[in-house]
């Protein structure tokens, strides 16, 4: 299933292993926050507020993965892997982008 991910795949259809791998990259050093603040509603306003960020921070205190919870939450919209990859690339989180779409973002060496 992982191999069939394209930029048009809905985030909600991502498999467990892929989510796990993404959190390996995005959980450390609060990189998930960079992604979270860039997520927009279709209207263009930010989807998550500072108060929402605190809620996700609270999950960390419970030992849960904020990236996993973010993907669950964001997955309830019609957002696609392409949108996520664009955000990842804009923050130079290329390793994470590479997990989703290996061919589209060659790792710079």
């Amino acid at each position: 299933m992982d191999s069939s991910v394209t930029s048009a795949t809905y985030i909600r259809n991502l498999g467990y292993c892929l989510r796990r791998k993404l959190s390996d990259f995005l959980d450390p050093q609060d990189r998930w926050k960079e992604v979270l603040v860039d997520i927009q509603k279709p209207s263009g306003e930010p989807r998550y507020s500072q108060l929402h960020v605190r809620r996700f921070e609270g999950l960390v205190a419970q030992g849960r993965s904020p990236t996993m919870e973010l993907l669950n939450d964001w997955g309830t919209t019609k957002s696609t892997v392409g949108e996520l990859v664009d955000i990842l690339k804009s923050h130079e989180l290329l390793a994470a982008a590479n997990v989703l779409l290996p061919e589209s973002s060659p790792l710079e060496t």
Binding site: Y10, R55, F56, E69, N72, T76, T77, K78
Partner: protein, 110 residues
């Protein structure tokens, strides 16, 4: 067909189970079964008590159709849209339409 006129009983078990798959998990920000229950008019204590239910989404749906007279498939769908759960509407629409079609066919037989 006008979905506003189709009662909730038209929805069979597989659709209800699927609704549970989408709504039972608690979300950090997005709407889950609690937000739906609130939209249906359940008060805080009622919602709090549904928490012990194994499948709160199913329980809430059943209680909603039992205690309110103006429930309908259309109303449920518009609530989900208002709660920004377009994912559910999109994914389950074919299943729901199929159940509604069966329900209407059964009505004609009688």
């Amino acid at each position: 067909v006008d979905l506003e006129k189709i009662p909730l009983v038209a929805l069979n078990m597989s659709v209800r189970k699927k609704l549970g798959l989408y709504l039972n998990p608690k979300h950090t920000v997005a709407a889950d079964w609690m937000a739906l229950a609130e939209a249906m008019g359940f008060n805080y204590l009622e919602i709090k008590n549904y928490e012990v239910s194994k499948n709160p989404t199913c329980t809430v749906l059943e209680d909603w159709q039992a205690r309110t007279t103006d429930t309908s498939v259309g109303k449920l769908l518009s609530m989900l849209s208002e709660l920004d759960r377009e994912d559910i509407v999109e994914d389950l629409r074919p299943l729901i339409d199929e159940d509604v079609r069966k329900y209407c066919a059964n009505l004609k037989k009688k």
